[in-house]
Amino acid sequence: MYSFPHNPTVVLLYKVELRASGIGTEVLTIIFELIPRTIRMSTPLVLAGLGGVYSERSGVVNIALEGIMLISAFGYVIGTSASGSAWAGLVIGIGFGTAIALVHAIASISFRADQIVSGVAINFLAIGITEFLNRKATSPRVEGLTQWNLPLIGSYSCLVYLTLLLMVGSHVFLFKTPWGLRLRAAGESTEALNMLGLSRARWQYIGVMASGVLAGLGGCFLASEAHYFTKGITAGRGYVALAAVIFGNWTPYKTAAACLLFGFANALQLESRWQIPSQLLQCLPYLLTMVVLVGVIGKSKPPASLGK
């Protein structure tokens, strides 16, 4: 599904290996190949995970991350193929993601629907809309986003670098600014904001819409790396990202670290040197998610008014 341009470090190592072909170098090669793969696999998870942090910090459970990613990936592909520009595709993809996040926000904030049920329904809606509009197994091939090639680091999509910025920015926003404080207050108490004369619902809307933009970016990244849209392109990444949010104790840095772990499990999936059937490797991230959740529950503390 993905193409992996060779990392300069890996190429260098291959050359070293030619001279000293020992088992040690082979292990190193695997590691150095896995690192860029892990980064690429983690990026959509980190983006969706950051989205989850915003939404859940404002008190809204967002299981709809999966659907947001799916529909944005779709939006990216039709936007790019219609306009010929990947940037236009990105904007349309994010627009699709935000629009479906808005539906979740209206249902769960204004109408006080059960947030999990609404989120699950949003995921069905995303599947329904994408399959309704694209009845073939895969879409036509579209171009991806610009790759930036940095010396020693390698060539990555510009979204990878943006993700790092967004991670730091989210931390600063949530924990160092008055707006972040308000957003977190919306998730901690049903009353606090209203008593200050501020609207809790407004900050919850902001939280959910932010998750729409971020998970939308994640979906666009998936489609941009794969160069086309397929049914089930997200493969449960939204749910995995939500687990990473819990594992990361609802903070941007720790969530991103958790996403790296899941991204690593995803990267192993593409490891073809071992004779393990692909379907069994596919289970790895899902199993890891379950194990991690068992280990972390009780130690991580959700926002006090999450889901209320």
Binding site: I63, A113, V120, A121, I246, C283, I297, L306
Partner: protein, 360 residues
Amino acid sequence: MARIPSFSKPQITEILHAGRPIAFSLGIVIVLSSLVIGILGQNVLEVYRILVLSAFGSLDDFGYVLFNATPLIFTGLAVTIGFKCGLFNIGCEGQLYAGGFAAVWVGFHFNFPAIILIPLCFFAAMTAGAGWAAIAGILKAKFGVHEVINTIMMNFIAIALTSYLVTEVYQEAGQMIPHTPQIYETAHLPRISAFIGLLSKSNPLNVMFLLAIVAALSCQFFLKRTQYGYELRLVGDAPDVATYGGINVGTVTVWTMMLSGAIASLAGVWDVMGYRYRFLDNFSPGFGYTGIAAALLGRNHPYGVCLAAILFGALNKGALDVDILLNVPRELFLIIQAVLIICLASIQIKWQSGTLGKTV
């Protein structure tokens, strides 16, 4: 003078009250789908005419509708049982794969007479479904992990594992299609058309439908008339009260998940023993997920679930014909289903459970 059976006034208000959100949601869905059909440039009334004719035009058509509804009744009941206990079992999809595979494995391994083989297949399937669901239940009861993420993860795992087993281990020799060999003839469940001459021989409606109705009746009896059903509902409504009353909430959680998984597995049995007679890789088009919609539309009542499942069965059959005749994509059905859930959840359905959705 014969007494005319009548509803008391509060009862009528109650029924009307229950019907309002459903009528409202269905109204929104009809308006929305009419709009979509209109945008596609089709005659809206013509589409609905074909939809209704296709589903209820003849007894045979209605047989197909009931055939479509059967797995949805099972998954809808499974979701309902979970809801009543405050559990959201999104894992029906995985449980029906586990159950279906267990049934087919027994079905093509043992050449026993029907009287032994059929119960054995059912036993294997329900054990597998219950076991698969029990994992999420135990994780919830022991460690407090919310069942939603775990059941979803286990759906992915179940589909991948059965796909591995079907394509790599039990693939029928010399076949391109990824499916297992057929189960023995003795494990085939009879079609209703074998007993009722009114249905054509090709009508796939099978005895699993009757079993689904029996399952709905039993669920209602279990929930309302037995001690276990009462405990289950109490845990869902007020876990603190249940604990105070000496009920072990953890045990009830695990048992409920197992019961729910066992019922969901019957949707897999329906496909394996009643329809295809083998296990096809990725056979379910999302019965487990449509079951959630059926449970919500049926307002978490076993009989309501049956009606909702029949409605979805009719929509499914009608959508296929509309697709073929008028070229309106049948995926519209998926959108309708999702919009229906969102509407129903938004118009404040009184949840049977106060605990749902607080801890993800």
